[in-house]
């Protein structure tokens, strides 16, 4: 069985490993457009902050027993009938690879704004290892005292943190009314305060319309603002890299992502797809959405790998669970927010409460802000958001909510969970349950 996988990031490597684990006789080839198999793209801000000194550490492993890696090979085209794929190496040499089963895991790329100045020297996207080397080289020139980040989502905020660690002045410009538009504004305002506390300039609700060079400096124009700066990092959302599949006639779905079923099969026989290039089944919405996340890519890749060698596995679906650390805060979410739930036909109620991460009498207690969204009548849990100190177990508390939503629990059901307690690490009713009790009294 010849398996060919296009893409060597989360989904591609997860699929390759899973297929080999279950079928050691499978011949697995992974085709990579660059030279960085299995690299943690999520780790780039920490490399750029120099908290990770050697970029090689961003990859846990770069070689895999029994898996052929074709580095710097670009996938040009698919022949779905002939079951072959044509690839071009760095020297321009073409090669045709036959496959029994193919996985398209071509990922995504930054959805750069269509404005003047994106190609000016000193303006960088951040998505690939190559991007981060370029940014690092520019910073190392030592002429960069100030960086302006366009985009106040996850990557923009992580980069603001990273560049402050590196000792550079930072301005963040975002379109949304508050930073991190993937959580509610009530929490976004806390994030804004945290950024200001660390001397990051924040400009929200602003649309960047151009970037230009004036002498040895750059000028970012957003409404009335002319922000003079030394470097611009563009951290927008991403869009699926689905061209290879589309050109072969494979059906596309939501947002131009490759259409897949829950077994990660595309519309073409023997062709699977996974990761940031595909649409993702949403567990609560019961429809496909475009929601590219590394965690999801790993899961979809694992499912695809299993099915490519004849398995029968379904992707369980995403809840959009996410967490980000911004300076001393962690901000996490899972499931649906109020507006999202309403749009999906639920009758949601969202209640915010505050609770200590552990017993207030034990040193170092931190307050958590927890927002629970649940259905008014059934009290079915639909979503949760948590903001608190990054060492206050925010990430794993959102995971308790995620496990509860996955299992269709109600808000009241959370009180039945036998959660752990010791004064330095929790409360007899964990913060998660205190929030549930507040929802029940305030929310109905």
């Amino acid at each position: 069985m010849r398996l060919v996988i296009v893409g060597g990031s989360d989904a591609g490597v997860a699929a390759a490993l899973r297929a080999r684990e279950l079928e050691p006789a499978a011949a697995v080839t992974v085709v990579l457009a660059d030279a960085y198999p299995n690299y943690s793209i999520c780790g780039l801000p920490f490399y750029l902050s120099r908290e990770v000194e050697d970029w090689h550490r961003l990859a846990h492993r770069t070689a895999f027993d029994g898996i052929d890696l074709l580095l710097d090979h670009y996938a040009e085209s698919l022949d779905l009938v002939g079951h072959t794929i044509r690839v071009r190496d760095a020297g321009g040499q073409l090669q045709t690879l036959p496959y029994d089963r193919l996985l398209v895991a071509t990922g995504a790329r930054p959805d750069l704004p269509d404005i003047p100045g994106m190609n000016v020297d000193g303006v960088f996207p951040l998505h690939t290892m190559g991007d981060s080397f370029a940014i690092d080289a520019y910073l190392r020139q030592g002429k960069c005292r100030k960086v302006t980040i366009v985009g106040a989502g996850y990557i923009g905020l992580e980069m603001a943190d990273a560049l402050k660690v590196r000792g550079v002045d930072v301005t963040v410009i975002g379109r949304s009314a508050s930073p991190l538009p993937s959580v509610d504004q009530e929490l976004g305002h806390e994030i804004e305060k945290e950024l200001l506390r660390h001397a990051v300039r924040v400009l929200c609700g602003a649309e960047v319309t151009r970037v230009g060079r004036v002498g040895d400096r750059l000028v970012v124009t957003a409404g009335d603002l002319e922000d003079e700066t030394d470097m611009v990092i563009v951290a927008p959302g991403v869009r699926p890299s689905s061209e290879l599949a589309a050109a072969a006639g494979i059906r596309l779905g939501v947002a131009g992502a490759i259409a897949v079923d829950r077994s990660m099969r595309t519309s073409a026989p023997d062709v699977f797809a996974a990761g940031d290039c595909v649409e993702t089944w949403h567990q609560l919405l019961g429809v496909h959405v475009y929601l590219p996340l590394g965690t999801t890519a790993h899961k979809q890749g694992r499912v695809a790998g299993e099915n490519m060698i004849g398995g029968d596995r379904l992707f369980a679906g995403s809840l959009g669970t996410q967490v980000v650390k911004v300076f001393d805060l962690a901000i996490a979410r899972t499931g649906l927010r109020d507006g999202e739930a309403r749009q999906a036909g639920f009758d949601p109620v969202t209640v915010e409460s505050a609770a200590w991460d552990h017993k207030a009498y034990y040193p170092g207690a931190r307050e958590l802000r927890i927002r629970i969204t649940a259905d008014r009548q059934s009290s079915r849990l639909l979503g949760a958001q948590i903001l608190g100190h990054w060492q206050a177990q925010v990430a794993k508390r959102i995971d308790v909510f995620a496990a509860a939503i996955h299992n269709g629990m109600s808000v009241e059901g959370l009180n039945d969970l036998d959660l752990s307690y010791t004064p330095p690490l929790g409360s007899p009713w964990d913060a998660v349950q205190i929030a549930a009790q507040r929802w029940a009294t305030a929310g109905r």
Copy 2:
């Protein structure tokens, strides 16, 4: 509706609050044998370490709107037919209180070993506020350079930590082969190393047979060992304080605890019971066990409070979820261990694995040791144990397992959970899922 609650700790206060929340017209009286309503007994080691300077902080609240507290009132007897309870105050005055519904929440007391010397000056149990005041006073005399702790369970280990913080030499003597017999020996040995690393002497597999006074010192005898010391703290298990109920003819169950159904009703009409004095429904075993825990007491109390005013709530059952911090380690468990599962008729397999708490390239990554116990054939998750750095989200990771077990998930199902990820706080497959994948490959 007159509600009388005997006991003002976790179960009693939780019941009182829940009843008043749902039925503001209820007349609620709480009878306490001491003067410390709602005090966190779990916090005593942290008061004795002086990490909590003022013992008043151990109670979050000591007064409650619309709830009468009878402090220092000892419940002498119940008249089940007449629906009254006789209480005696500190001055010896007797009083008879009528009730419509009664809650017995009389807790537990230390199960002191039946050996010579338990009453010698300098030998202390640790269970009540009074005990901890006595210990503190003895330590403050300044003559105490060394303390020997009899018992290597939760409280014994927390006290070892607490007394080292206070600058005292500590020896721990435990009966079990390794400290903290509630987790597997493989983890117990790590705990032993942690104790030694902090200069705590540990003697395991030793039965203390007597304590005696020799001059101004104490001698603890355990097998061949004669341990000379200045103070002995006895931290054994507990047994239910069920005498009040038993004397009234209420049925007792497992281990002499008050028999209850899942609505927390006893065998007597209109009499409920909750907390450390009752037997506890075990969710996995499907039988009652004696498993006194503060978290459980709160849940049982809340259920009882709701049902006392006419509600219809069932206690969901315990999984025995626990966590303890010992110096830099947190050790947690939920569900069943291998032997417990086997005894209950399962065919368990237990697999240990190691995983980083977050991406190894990000500073401060800690290794977690995770033991998963699951049924061989069905792969139904039965239990989990985690040992790791106390700031490595051990407690909330065991909670993810607890939520999974609560919902009857399989080990493989853990991989479907959409858990959060950012490099400083997790991995694309969380440690919980890496352990699940190891179980699947190694365990079958």
